[in-house]
Amino acid sequence: MQTPPADSNHPKIVLVGNPNVGKSVLFNALTGAYTTVSNYPGTSVEVSRGHCEIDGTRYEVLDTPGMYALLPITEEERVARQILLAETGHIIVHVIDARNLERMLPMTLQLIEGRLPVLLVVNILDEAERIGMQIDTALLQEKLGIPVIGAATARKRGLKEIRAAIAAFDSTRRPTFAYASDLERDILRIATTLASDYPLDRRAIALLLMQKDEEVLELVRTAEGEGFAAVETAVRAVAFERRVDLHLRISLERKRVCKGVLDGVVSQDSGARTPFSERLSGWTMNPWSGFPLLLLVLYFGLYQFVGNFGAGTVVDLLEGHLFEEWLNPWAIALSDRFLPWYWLRELITGEYGIFTLGIRYAVAIILPIVGTFFLAFSVIEDTGYFPRLAMLVDRIFKQIGLNGRAVIPIVLGFGCDTMATMVTRTLETVRERLIATVLLALAIPCSAQLGVILGLLSGAPGALLVWTLCVAAIFLVIGFLAARVTPGELPMFYMEIPPLRLPQPRNVLVKTLTRMQWYLLEIFPLFIFASVLLWAGKLSGALGGLITLLRPAMLALGLPPDTAAVFVLGFFRRDFGAAGLYDMQANGVLSVVQLTVAAVTLTLFVPCIAQFLMMKKERGWPTATGIFVFVTAVAFGCGWLLNQALLFTGVLS
């Protein structure tokens, strides 16, 4: 638990709580538009920071990843706790779901016993009231001894009160809650062996030690030095004398204390009906209705919105009109006039020019497609649909060595494989991350490539079907084999299923813009880099050499030798290749069989350079190179087989 650099002197407000309790909405409401999302130092977990001003005081606000308890399991939870301990928050705002007070209050108790300055926000009160729950927050405040605010942040309810409570926060009030006497004796026995100062109260440290928290154990080991042996002895003695799972014992004890606190606080009238969202939720999880619903989501979300609107209408507007008719001629005329050197003109506005190719591609083609995809993805994400989809496909995904959770990076891959490769880090085991990375590199076409290929093949009857079947079969077969040869822990699936909700436009917008911002920052330079590389290749003749080198492979696939250029381009951007194919077909040089073979091979073949670099970043050089070689071999192997099969059976001719 190292301390990250303090980047501001303002008092800090740290938001903590379970996933799906409305922390981000509260964060956005407090901080307004100017927030930064960045990786927490030394980790790959994203943390949002922003500022707010209350009663003339300026605060720094931190939104932590969701955590279930002070004892971390996932990397997200570890980071959340690290922030809690290392950032010395002026106020810790614990946000909980009113409907699940009993389940979430134990963490409040943990925060209080750590002597952290806690402000409790009982959120989502509106939905709790709708199901007939009444919560007496005043009584809860009295019993807990810390400020408690009832709120429904998504409906802007309680925001004023939260601000007022922050301004009036009195950090000297520190209540305590007693556990059973035997447990208290154990806690005291361990706590008295601790001599150093800790970011948490010694009592809380003792409890974490009893729960076998390895990080805290390390922290204590370094802090105590010589005295650590005594601590270890005390912990071992307690564990042995009790002969029960102390973790369970402490959890049950906290539950008992919380029950007492909640006595009289919550009342429930049982007359409430099951709301429509509940029935809809049931349908999404029943395989009979769930898969048709999934198809509807894919059809409207992906095909209509991203495919037709994003890749069609918006791209036409930007690329067809803005660039082709206005910007490109203008830029070319400008460089012809002012740039005397051929090589420089080529670099800026030539065939592979930074402006005419790099920027045009990034802004006019990729950005609209990826932007509409991210928008659709954020809307679907905010409804709470993904956990339901994960649950639905878990059994199938187990067959390919993943668990249902992996559905999120895989779906994201249809938008941008590079981003999806990065998101594989949310998977729990190294094995899952590796399998997901391979599948993304091999069989998931990104939205740009998908758009062009769909347009290309829809004109040739049967070709689209063959392409779909081939790519789906490769996905399943390679996944199935990978699941059997990859060593490591088998995946396990558990997930909280949040209620279905209508997404909040503001939240969706912030998420989409954050992702697009990321996309531009990470990918944009790569576009420029790719066009420079292509330019250099063209001028030096290296591109031509590479294409000549690939020709025999093209002949083996039954393709015209010129297709080699398409594959080389494909490595720079998946869709460059597809676009090249489009040109070839427009010129009528490809038969239907050749078109299909080329499309399948190109889809499977190499992740684009950005994805390759991301694989290298996430998995390291040896693994990334291994995946590259493997994917290339599978792609060309399948292309060859497909060509033989199509020629032999005469299906498409």
Partner: protein, 218 residues
């Protein structure tokens, strides 16, 4: 009646082939037997089986004995895998040794100790014994794995049995704690259950490690 261990194993295999897979007997070859096998002759003498050429059939007279052999085997699996926590090939091997020790009403004692489990750790049904029927009549359903609840049934979480502390920790922090009431909403394709106002999805492997006391339905 005492029959040899080998004869018991043959009966078990025949029971699984005929009663659970619906085959007409089993081929000698798939059982790994020669026609002149001693254990086979022993069963033939007791009129438990019928040998017709390459096939053996389980006769009505042998059903009871076969069913109890399967029951002992699967109870032994529960003991070695759940209680002793011996898994993998070693667990299978130990279960095979144990099952033969369970004759003479020892199976009843073990079954009662284990709360009359309905399935083995592989999910296959354990044929109920007299003790199970008695317990059912007394309305003492005992503690069962979540996998044995039907969708719509309610139960109270009795305990979590998992060898991995991380899993246990995760389940507990999600609110899967002994004493909590749980409603199973779906059992397929994953197990969806509700505690309080939250819903959780777990796969079959985890569902097998959550033990509940089926409760009064509400």
């Amino acid at each position: 009646m005492m029959i040899s261990h080998q004869a018991e194993d043959i009966l078990e295999a025949l029971w699984i082939a005929t009663e659970e897979k619906g085959d007409h007997g089993a081929l000698l070859e798939t059982l790994g037997l020669r026609p002149d096998d001693a254990a086979l002759e022993e069963l033939d003498r007791l009129a438990f089986v019928d040998i017709q050429g390459e096939r053996v059939h389980l006769r009505e007279e042998g059903r009871e004995e076969a069913q109890m052999a399967v029951r002992r085997h699967r109870l032994a699996e529960r003991l070695t895998m759940d209680i002793f926590d011996i898994r993998g090939p070693e667990g299978d091997e130990k279960a095979c040794e144990f099952e033969h020790l369970l004759r003479g009403a020892v199976d009843t004692k073990l079954c009662t100790l284990l709360n009359h489990p309905a399935t083995c750790p592989h999910g296959r049904p354990i044929p109920p014994g007299r003790c199970c029927r008695d317990a059912k009549q007394q309305g003492a359903p005992g503690v069962v794995a979540l996998t044995e609840l039907k969708a719509g049934e309610v139960g109270e979480i009795a305990y979590l049995s998992t060898a991995e502390p991380k899993k246990m920790q995760k389940l507990m922090s999600m609110g899967v704690l002994p004493g909590n009431q749980l409603l199973l909403k779906r059992a397929y394709p994953s197990y969806i259950f509700r505690i309080g106002h939250s819903e959780f999805a777990v796969d079959q492997e985890l569902a097998r490690e959550i033990f509940v006391r089926p409760g009064p339905g509400s």
